[in-house]
Symmetry: C2
Subunit: 154 residues, 2 copies
């Protein structure tokens, strides 16, 4: 069943949404790195042993991109996930074989003063690995539409 | 000529590094979106006209990933670019055909209290499009190695 779409009015602090999961392979880590973050600790298992990571580690931007995919698939928020900006942190490396899943939580909801058709939701997402450890935390400012007048009047 | 590698001791607030450029095609925008951010305004020119973007727009994570690539290619910082976290914002959409380039600026440099071999650099990066407008701003906390003792003694 497709969940009903949630407009700004339907969001409230404390609401959570959980994603499916994605297992990251060494091949994916290297492919992403070759294109977007070509550094040896993201590209070569042997060489990575002598890096700060002590072994092959995913680019943080790969973790961010996978997190986005999982969030897009799981989010019931109307209008899609449109971020104006975010704070992001990677407290530990993500490794080949790690399985990531995301828990999103609404922290705050603010109607726009100048645009009556929308508002901003502050959404925290935690990306966990299979050990329940946090691979990424992110707090995103998202543009969310208000319920269209026609639907309110129904 | 490969620029000399800069260690923590060589960095100071106000230092800037400029990247090369990358022109983003509609095909790249759609390919990235299909994999990591499958929302209609990143995938379909026609449908995107009715979105908040008013036309096809790149995923912010695609802009972030391209920015990372440009930074990795341009940065003279020793040990690579290892971010512990970042604040990121996309003040305007990035469109097919936009040419992006990055200017990095060192904001702050802090030796680690607990780890004598490294420190943290706060680095701001501004990603400009071909009109000189800001497509992305980012402030990153980066782990930077200190100059190894052997090299200091030379």
């Amino acid at each position: 069943m497709t969940p009903a779409k949630l407009y700004l009015e339907d969001l409230h602090p404390g609401q959570t949404f959980e994603s499916g999961s994605h297992t990251l392979t060494a091949a994916e880590i290297k492919e992403f790195a070759a294109r977007f973050d070509p550094q040896f600790f993201h590209l070569d298992e042997e060489a990575a042993k002598d890096s700060l990571f002590g072994g092959l580690a995913s680019s943080g931007w790969n973790v961010a991109a996978i997190t986005m995919r999982l969030m897009v698939e799981a989010s019931p928020i109307a209008g899609g996930l449109i971020g104006a900006g975010a704070e992001i942190a990677w407290p530990r490396p993500t490794r080949p074989g790690d399985t990531l899943r995301v828990v999103m939580e609404v922290l705050d909801v603010t109607p726009s003063r100048s645009r009556p058709d929308r508002g901003m939701a502050l959404v925290q997402s935690k990306t966990f690995n299979q050990h329940g450890e946090i691979a990424q935390t992110m707090t995103s400012r998202m543009v969310v539409p208000r319920r269209p007048i026609a639907e309110t009047e129904k």
